[in-house]
Amino acid sequence: MNETLKAAGLIKEFGSFRAVDNVTFAVKPGEIVGLLGPNGAGKTTTINMILGILEPTAGSIEILGRNLKEHRTEIVKQTNFAAVYAQMPGNLTVYQNLYVFGLLYQVQNLKEKIKSLLRDFDLEAFANTKAGLLSSGEQTRLNLAKALINEPALLLLDEPTASLDPSVANFIRERIKKNVAETNTAVLWTSHNMYEIEAVCDKVLFLSHGKILLTGNPRTLPAEYGKKDLEELFISVAREPLFFENI
């Protein structure tokens, strides 16, 4: 087993609209893969299918060598996620949230684990504060603490630094990179921040209209297509997807 995540021929249709169109990719242990694309490209739909909250119309998802559809509960114990649209319940405190999700993921020595996460994510002072009262940066740190509570083999991050100030965003990036270096976690990361993608990702997949148009190293890919940086390449893919589709 080489890949932590293997998506093959993934298709998702909503009625006659095809949101994800025959997407195939893999993420290896210790690898951070960026999933890029304009709004509505199918990134979140792809992530939702990998999370198991959306059933693919066709194709398969294998995580740690096992089919997600057949072994969901066992597989999901070893995955986790943080997404800008899935905040922790605001009416529980930081500690209560981590406690509830630690139980759901069957974390051993849960109280010790929570203590160490509160320390690592600088949340000790907010342990008894309701999550809804936290600032965006604190909430994101809480989301990430929850995402790492079970030391996942696969981490899915959907715009984890969206709407954060550069300092907090940098903290989040560094914390994830540190975690990957220590635990060999495979990461699938979506973002609209090209600087961030270039800084953290080993590989990027450009998605447009549900299809993967380009794949490669974010540091060398722009030059391969005659663009000065990743942002310029992103704009070209977003505006002229047909050009890249026919390459």
Partner: protein, 282 residues
């Protein structure tokens, strides 16, 4: 089924109750008002009836049992709504939590709130109106079991409807017990209803409980919704009572099984259509 995950769903609800006293007040307020209101009404009616009919025993007993069932239904639905209001579905359903475990966690919550509410009602009815529900005798246990299972089935059914139709359908859950009380013989015998409405009584498990309770407290007169007839005398009444309980239990379990599969069907529909991820905009 994993106990730790069921406990996680349950403890989240307990944290919510602990964190905000208004949740506790809402659990007890209406049932306390019901008991006090009906306690005084029955006392007044009793004074008119000159002790020929025990209004307190029969009507207040029915109110308490109905309140118990309503608490079970509302307790389960409220726990489900808490996850809607806090947009928690993605977090829950992307975790290892199985749908059966989620429902078991909601049921555990509703058992806890239902028993607490029931105890408070008994306490107030006993202290204020001298009412003792244990006059019903050992039949109280199957009565509570039937109402508990039926309340649970209603709670899961309403939650499934909201899960399918979206948060805007929340209102459906609140008046259901009130609507069912029309056919369940809570306040009056089912025989008072026109024949065509008695059909609904026959398919509502609670109606068998209230008819049986009235029969026991009134001293043997037993109306059987299943047979649409009245019977008197000990052996026949006893048989009819037992039959009533079996029918009510059978109906309750059938509904519970049906709504459990209905909830799972809705969950699978939502998985297919992406409703879990964008539930709050439905």
């Amino acid at each position: 089924m994993n106990i730790a995950r069921i406990y996680a769903v349950f403890i989240r609800q307990i944290f919510l109750y602990k964190s905000n006293p208004t949740r506790i007040v809402s659990t007890f307020l209406w049932i306390i008002i019901d008991v006090i209101l009906w306690g005084f009404i029955t006392k007044y009616l009793g004074s008119l009836g000159k002790d020929t009919f025990s209004f307190v025993n029969i009507i207040l007993g029915a109110i308490i049992l109905w309140g118990f069932m309503t608490r079970i239904e509302h307790g389960l639905m409220m726990a489900f709504l808490e996850d809607i209001w806090s947009r928690n579905f993605i977090n829950y359903f992307a975790s290892p939590l199985k749908i059966g475990e989620y429902l078991a966690g909601l049921v555990t919550t509703s058992i806890t709130t239902g028993i607490c509410g029931f105890s408070v009602m008994l306490l107030i009815a006993g202290l204020a109106f001298g009412y003792n529900i244990f006059k019903i005798g050992l039949f109280l246990l199957p009565f509570l079991l039937i109402l508990f299972i039926f309340g649970m089935a209603m709670g899961i059914f309403v939650s499934a409807l909201i899960f399918r139709l979206g948060p805007a359908a929340e209102w459906i859950g609140w008046p259901i017990p009130m609507v069912l009380s029309v056919f369940s013989g809570v306040f009056y015998p089912v025989s008072i209803l026109p024949k065509f409405l008695q059909f609904f009584s026959k398919i509502i498990p609670a109606s068998y409980v209230f008819e049986s309770m009235r029969a026991i407290l009134a001293g043997g007169l037993l109306f059987s919704p299943s047979a649409s007839s009245a019977s008197t005398g000990s052996p026949q009444a006893g048989q009819a009572l037992t039959m009533n309980l079996f029918i009510a239990l059978g109906l309750s379990f059938t509904y519970l099984l049906f709504v459990y599969f209905f909830f799972i069907k809705v969950y699978r529909y939502n998985l297919k259509h992406g409703t879990i991820a964008r539930f709050n905009i439905e």
